[in-house]
Symmetry: C2
Amino acid sequence: MTPCPPKTSCLTCRLSDLCLPFGLQIDEVETLEIIIKNKRPLRLGELLFSKNDQCLGLFAVKSGSFRRFVINAEGIEQSLGFYLPGELIGLDALFDGRFTCSVDALETSSVCELPLTRLNELCVKIPNLQYQLTRILSKEITTNHEQMFLLSNNSAKIKVATFLLMLSKRYGALGYSHTQFNLSMPRQTIASFLGLSNETISRQLTSLCKEKIISVNQRAVVINDFISLQAIIEPCHNK
Amino acid sequence: MTPCPPKTSCLTCRLSDLCLPFGLQIDEVETLEIIIKNKRPLRLGELLFSKNDQCLGLFAVKSGSFRRFVINAEGIEQSLGFYLPGELIGLDALFDGRFTCSVDALETSSVCELPLTRLNELCVKIPNLQYQLTRILSKEITTNHEQMFLLSNNSAKIKVATFLLMLSKRYGALGYSHTQFNLSMPRQTIASFLGLSNETISRQLTSLCKEKIISVNQRAVVINDFISLQAIIEPCHNK
DNA sequence: CGTTGTTTTGACACTAGTCAATGGGTGTGG
DNA sequence: CCACACCCATTGACTAGTGTCAAAACAACG
């Protein structure tokens, strides 16, 4: 609708402490935001990019949420991760300049684009920026390890509980409620992400509801009993 | 046995093209190798570091192999990945200076240590080095995504076949045979890595042997029929 | 109000886990 | 050099947890 979206300012963006500007001096942030390009908002299902596309820049989520996925051997979409505001999309492409997964919008969402060539120039000039980028890359690796840990050795119940707590933590860090939030993805997408069937997701959510640990109404989730939800994951954390 | 291990030289190291020196000028490599510290070889089961240890440096595998793992809620070791020669260990600690997993040696193995403070200094002086480190971080993220893809949605047979092909590819890249190699880890460790039980690993290997696709004798594996092994993973790759 | 897509629920099948027993290698000590 | 113990791997029997298929309930949208 807006013919020309308002110019992004990292200085006034409430996400900047979660994003690339974290730790930068004010003048450094001002230099950074010069290179940032706004993109028009994407709607549900719209692709930000596809696997094997050339990467011209990284993306920072400004609002909404995105999903990373690939198409498997049977032609089925397999969800591999989610991006919430403040998170950087496309880090896997720094290796050889091509995206290794596809990313689409889970709802109406927007991003800031950081053109790669200009970002690289800036990283040489601003060591703090390079440092923060390295930290973000490292953090992504740790997040991946946690995800692998979750997928390798756990029951459906533990997977679903962990998924809910993970979202709770991330929404909390964004300043939203960590006890009630809306899932921005359908059951099928959660299922694919957790390596389960959508029926199993449904049954596990129903089961948690019956135990009064959560309440679910469509995409709306309320966590009623945080302690019990935690206890599902770490049954003997009192040891 | 050797009282003072011979000084490492990246210039003569046959792994240098897989490691941090890739893409560097000769004089840059010479500057890099000044900061490298040798560590005495580790034996089977010895810890390189533990989860939550302070990270003083990254490690490059010189020989042998390592395993990344954590202890889960039941007190069981959960294997999360393996490191072969030329690969960098500890990238997850760049975020906040603490290791997020433990790493131990799967056999007698050795590493080069890259002290973090000196590596950071050098990265500012040598942009190529910073660039290569970023590439390695990005590649690690892609490897993690592949691992998550494998864990999320596949049968035991596909997991075991993919595991064998992954090792085949990595050994091949190191200049070893990609059709026969020794597993450096017990079945239990493979099982934990793939999110399966050790009995299932055993049964799947036996099954692949009966199909004449591989031969297994203890830790020794021979891939007899590469095409069929590939076909297990991508049943319809001829489409 | 009908169409469509999503979610839930039920019935059943099947994969992989668990438990238990057996077999095979390796290493140590007599 | 052999016997024993220990660890690891294999195999079998049984079971539990999920997946699959199908149908029904529900919500969203035009």
